[in-house]
């Protein structure tokens, strides 16, 4: 009789143990799933907003073009107006290509080593990449304008940008919303913290009038002779 009673208690206790561990596991799994789902939802929302913005801009451009075409077709545009419009397009494209010296609100970031430790190209690249992620409109390192094909390469104690030697301190200029630019760099565990870890001193100044010079136009930086346009 007492054997059955003991056995009963044992079985009940074993069951209790199993149930408890299952319970614990399922709570943990649920938490991970919830975190993953949330991340996915956040990604989707940012993607969606970006896509909507892009579509709005496309629609605006289409409307503009339709208007232009209408006036071209009906001949209300004189040759002179066509010329003016083409010139305006050309100027905009020149600004975008970095062929004009520009100014605007932005930040000036000075990067220098504290104890004479060398500054690597990767240190400059992470700063540039972070600024690009903040919708920057013009960028320069020691007044060398950054274009699509600009390299940043360390060669001993200096770095090369657009094939030109630059010496420290490195001064990165960027034009875009100054607040956003600064906070993108100073975010916790962000670029500034990383650079400090490498014994570099980073100074960020917001400015109303950051001047960024045009790209050197001697045919060594802007090259496109190997590109065949496809129609």
């Amino acid at each position: 009789m007492s054997f059955f009673k003991d056995a009963g208690i044992t079985i009940v206790c074993i069951l209790l143990g199993i149930v408890l561990s299952v319970q614990y596991r399922s709570v943990k799994v649920n938490d991970t799933v919830a975190v993953y789902e949330q991340q996915r939802v956040n990604d989707l929302i940012t993607d969606l907003l970006r896509e909507q913005e892009s579509n709005e801009q496309l629609q605006k451009r289409i409307n503009d073009l339709q208007k232009d075409l209408e006036s071209l077709r009906t001949g209300t545009n004189s040759e002179n107006e066509t010329i003016q419009e083409l010139k305006k397009d050309i100027e905009e494209l020149e600004i975008l290509a970095g062929l004009k010296t520009v100014k605007g609100a932005g930040v000036i970031v000075t990067i220098d080593s504290v104890g004479g430790s060398p500054i690597d190209d990767s240190h400059i690249l992470i700063v540039l990449n972070e600024l690009k992620a903040t919708d920057v409109q013009a960028l320069a390192v020691n007044d060398e304008r950054m274009i699509a094909t600009s390299e940043v390469r360390r060669a001993g104690s200096y770095i090369m940008v657009n094939g030109r030697k630059l010496l420290p301190p490195y001064i990165v200029k960027a034009i875009a919303d100054p607040e956003k630019l600064e906070s993108s760099l100073t975010i916790m565990a962000g670029v500034v913290d990383t650079l400090k870890y490498y014994d570099l001193k980073v100074d960020i100044k917001q400015e109303e009038n950051v001047i960024i010079p045009a790209v050197r136009d001697d045919g060594t930086v802007l090259r496109y002779d190997l590109l065949v346009p496809v129609y």
Binding site: K5, D6, G8, I9, V12, L16, V19, N30, A34, E37, Q38, Q39, R40, V41, D43, L44, I45, D47, L48, E51, Q57, L58, R61, I62, L65, L69, L72, E79, I83, L86, K87, D89, I90, E92, L93, L96, K100, T101, V102, K103, G104, G106, S122, N129, K132, Q137, M146, I147, E151, V152, R153, M160, A176, L222, D225, L226, L227, V228, P229, V230
Partner: protein, 240 residues
């Protein structure tokens, strides 16, 4: 006798409590899952729709741009060489800015995450944005004239951000494998990459890197925002 009864009593109370808790978590988890899934599903569907809309708008824009060039050319054929010159100049600048499809010789690099291995930290097996930045930098140093990642044209202000297992380029998100295309001198580009620190380190970590020279590479135009005005809205020209 009454002692063992007491133990059984307590054990059953505990068992009952645990059972109730367990069934509650299961019910809750099911509910959560349903909510999470529907919002993921509906968001995905909405995104898909928006993307399709974007493609349609893109096509419409190309069509209009071609039509515009055609009409202007017709007008200028009727006798204005100035318009022809301006059209050519505009086209060259569009090429410089990455707004035209281009073709040429160069290299194609394919990158894929390393196969999973238990003994290693997974973050060392995946491709980071710094890997991509380094590769682009090597290609630029070796004289690349046009660059694209997964057919997203890289322009001066293109952003590349790693967000977990995907990469965000311009405004679009791509999973691995990443295909980097570069037009330039194929030998120079190839050698620069083969000897680069970036590629050597990736190979040490078993990241799958393949580099091949190609003589007919097609790189599409920049597609993210075609509105030049918006891309230079914060810039004022300084005359020198």
């Amino acid at each position: 006798m009454s002692k063992s009864k007491g133990i059984i009593f307590v054990a059953f109370i505990l068992l009952g409590m645990v059972l109730a808790m367990q069934s509650r978590t299961i019910l809750l988890a099911k509910q959560q899952n349903v909510v999470g899934q529907t919002s993921v599903q509906s968001l995905s569907a909405e995104l898909e729709q928006e993307k399709n809309q974007g493609l349609k708008l893109q096509e419409e824009l190309y069509r209009l741009e071609e039509r515009e060039a055609e009409i202007i050319r017709q007008i200028s054929n009727e006798g204005n060489p100035l318009i022809n010159d301006l059209l050519d100049e505009r086209h060259t600048l569009q090429t410089v800015n990455g707004f035209t499809d281009v073709q040429g010789s160069g290299v194609i690099i394919t990158l894929d995450d390393a196969p999973a291995r238990n003994e290693m930290d997974p973050s060392q097996l995946i491709i980071h944005d710094s890997d991509i930045t380094n590769i682009l930098n090597e290609l630029r140093t070796a004289g690349a004239q046009a660059l694209a990642i997964n057919d997203e044209r890289i322009i001066a202000t293109s952003k590349q951000l790693c967000a977990g297992p995907t990469i965000l380029i311009n405004k679009n998100r791509y999973p691995v494998p990443y295909v980097v295309k570069a037009i330039g001198d194929p030998d120079e580009l190839f050698n620069a990459l083969e000897q680069s620190e970036a590629v050597t380190i990736m190979k040490i970590y078993d990241i799958q890197v393949s580099i091949r020279k190609e003589y007919e590479i097609f790189i599409p135009r920049y597609n993210a925002y075609r509105n030049t005005e918006n891309m230079i809205s914060g810039l004022e020209v300084v005359e020198r």
